[in-house]
Each structure stands twice: as C-alpha cells, then as structure tokens.
C-alpha cells in the first residue's frame, strides 16, 4: 500500500478492530513508514481505552428497581411468568452470591454456570480436560450437545487449545473447552445449548469476585460464555471477539 493518503475510514476501522487480516497487514505496513499517522492511530486507541476504563464498572452496577418496573409498566401484555422468573432468579443469585449479575434471565444463569465451571476445572493441574484427541473430543461433544461444537482458533490471542469436557447443565448437557496461554493463564469457553434464544445478543460482559470476568452471547442454537480469572477485561474482550466472530460467521 503506497498512496500518500489512504481512506480515513480504514484508519478508524483499524482502531476499532474491524479490518480483515489482509487489509490490517497492509495498513500496518503503511503506518510503519508514517510515524505521524501511526501516532494518531495510537492516540485514538488510547482515547477508546480511557473511555472504556472510565465506564467499565457501570455495567456491574445493579439495575435500580425503578428501571425494571418501567419495563413492566404496561399491563397490556400480561407477564406474571416473567415476574415469577425474575423473583426466582434474583433469589437464587442472592443465595449464591458468586457474581454480581446484570439482569434477570437466561443470560445471568449462563454467566453463573460458566464462572462455576471455570473455577472448578481451570484450577485443575492433572486433569483439567478429557484425555481425548481434539477431533474425537469435538465429535463426541457435538453428539452429546446435539449441535456442532467447534473450538475457535485463539492462537492470535496467544491461547492454545487444551481440550474439553462434558458437563451437566440444568436440563441438558453442556460443554467446557479450555485454552491456555504461555504463562499458564487459562480461558474457558462454556457451551450451553439450553440458553439459546431467538435473537443473537452480541457480546455482553459480566464480572465477579476474585477477578472473574465473563463475556457471553446467546444465539438461536446455544449460549456461549468465555470466562477467565486472569485476563484483563480488554484482553478477554479481544479473545471473546475472536471466538464470537468465528462461531457466528
């Protein structure tokens, strides 16, 4: 890429991680020869990080009940079941107290389950995963979950696939895939088909005690949750984006 100027839009797509690999590589070599532009890009990145950091904790704040009420304010559609579900979910979570959760519903359940599975198995040194070859393991998990279970490629984030295992869900089987970084940090990807929902949610974030962070999303086939107690939110977000892109393409 030689032109003196390149589309400004590409620079921004680069800052936002929205360029494909080829264009990203081209842009990086273009920037390498233009320190002023590279500095501008770096400054844009810093801007984003400052805003994200400043507002990161807001997502963990409990929702004021008045806002949930605003949502239920319209009696035109009857929602006794929702009220009951909200009550039960809230009760269960207060009892568990593992994670500060975002909102009632399947989303918070998958966060709980993924965080628990991570806590139990990521700490395991000897047998964190089933002793099976990758292909065989994924085939077996796919069979048990009745959907195609894949292991997204996370090498770009420095994570190698370690293996996985079958887990009991609430009403159906679930699966846990595990990845490991060079310094031994572990990231797990939880697959819970029982958390599927009609519409894809996009990436959502939840965090809890002792550095536990979870990025999750739900689609019409399954709920997915990436958990780690060792990665920063930024790092886990990058990993989650990678997994999300591969699984939702």
């Amino acid at each position: 890429m030689n032109p003196a100027r390149l589309p400004e839009a590409d620079l921004h797509a680069y800052v936002d991680g929205r360029l494909d690999v080829a264009r990203r590589a081209a842009l990086e070599s273009w920037l390498a020869a233009r320190p002023a532009e590279a500095a501008r890009v770096a400054a844009y990145r810093v801007l984003g990080e400052r805003w994200r950091a400043a507002y990161a904790t807001m997502l963990e704040e409990p929702v004021p009940p008045a806002l949930l009420c605003a949502l239920e304010a319209k009696p035109a559609r009857r929602r006794p079941l929702l009220r009951a579900a909200v009550g039960v979910a809230a009760g269960a979570l207060i009892a568990l107290g593992v994670l500060r959760y975002l909102a009632p519903g399947p989303a918070s359940d998958i966060v709980q389950r993924a965080a628990m599975a991570h806590t139990v198995y990521a700490a395991e040194v000897q047998h964190p995963v089933e002793p099976r070859a990758r292909g065989e393991l994924l085939e077996w998990l796919s069979e048990r979950l009745r959907m195609k279970v894949q292991a997204p490629e996370l090498h770009a984030a420095g994570l190698a696939f370690l293996g996985g295992r079958l887990l009991p869900g609430d009403a159906a089987a679930a699966a846990l895939l595990m990845y490991e970084g060079q310094s031994g940090q572990r990231v797990t990807l939880y697959w819970g088909p029982e958390f599927r929902q009609a519409r894809e949610t996009g990436l959502l974030y939840a965090s809890g005690e002792r550095g536990m962070r979870v990025y999750y999303w739900l689609d019409d086939e399954c709920g997915y949750a990436l958990a780690s107690a060792e990665l920063s939110q930024e790092e886990l977000h990058a990993v989650a984006k990678m997994a999300h892109e591969q699984l939702e393409k």
Binding site: L47, W51, A70, K74, R77, H237
Partner: protein, 161 residues
C-alpha cells in the same frame, strides 16, 4: 422452563439484560449531567409500549439504542446541546476527558460512544441513529480528532504549569 419460549418474555429479558448498557451510554452521553437514568426510564417505557415480536427477531440492541437516541434528541437537554456553540455542563469532579465530550456536537458524541463503549459496527451505528454510514464515518473521524487535540492541548498545558 417452558415460559421462556414466549417471545414476549424472551425479548423483555433481552431488554433487561441490556439495561446496564443503556445506563452506561446515557451517563457517558450526558457526561454526568442531565439525570441519565431518567433518559433510560423514558426509553424503557417506550420500549415496553412498542415491543413487538419483530423486535425480538431483529437487533434488539439497535432498536433500544435508537429509542434512547430519539428520546435524547427530543429531551430538553438534547435540544439545548444542539444550539450552536453552547457547551454542555459537566460535573466539576468529572475527569478532564469526560468533560471533553460535552464540547462535541450531540451526533458526534453519540457516534463516538456507540463505537467506543458499545463496540457497535458502523452499520449498527448508522441504523441506531438513522443516518447514512458515510455520515457515521466522517463524524467519527471528526469526533476522534477533536478529542485527541483537546486532550493533547490539556497535557501540554499541564506541562507548562
């Protein structure tokens, strides 16, 4: 739990899961002024009123943020901000960069925050704000450049002192 299969309930739960995101956005948008939760409440009331099964199938987040955007623009705060050079008020304690955002025109502020905080794609931002994607790109570029220069100046001033 068969009740979860009801599309209405599912969308309402979907909306509930997005409330923290709406609150964060509203707070960042007004940079601590103008009662952000009031903006969210008005948005949720409209959402509860307008919710149709179609919204559950489409992008719920884009729909909710577009409701918030409309509410914001219609609100007195939104109107005031659109006045020529009237910079918004921020709390004295807010960080310099948070104060910086109120000097941006409302549309630039919204685009910058949807991309930065919500990690929306440019297409989603265009849909949310009901503007062409070219406008998203040009305003995003202006917003970032303005914020960059403002924070750069501020850093220089601090060094001089």
């Amino acid at each position: 739990m068969p009740e979860r299969c009801l599309p209405g309930v599912q969308s309402q739960e979907g909306i509930a899961a997005l409330i923290p995101h709406l609150r964060r956005y509203a707070r960042a948008l007004a940079a601590t002024g103008a009662a952000p939760d009031d903006l969210v409440r008005a948005t949720l009331e409209r959402a509860a009123q307008d919710l149709k099964p179609a919204h559950a199938r489409a992008d719920l987040r884009v729909w909710l943020f577009s409701l918030l955007h409309e509410t914001y623009v219609a609100s007195a705060a939104g109107r005031d901000m659109q006045g020529a050079a009237a910079p918004g008020e921020a709390e004295p304690g807010a960080a310099a960069f948070e104060r910086a955002i109120v000097t941006l025109p409302p549309l630039q502020r919204e685009i910058f925050l949807l991309v930065t905080l919500e990690d929306m794609s440019y297409e989603q931002v265009a849909k949310t704000l009901d503007i062409p994607i070219g406008t998203v790109m040009s305003r995003l570029s202006r917003a970032r450049e303005k914020l960059r220069l403002m924070l750069l100046n501020e850093a220089r001033l601090r060094q001089v002192k």
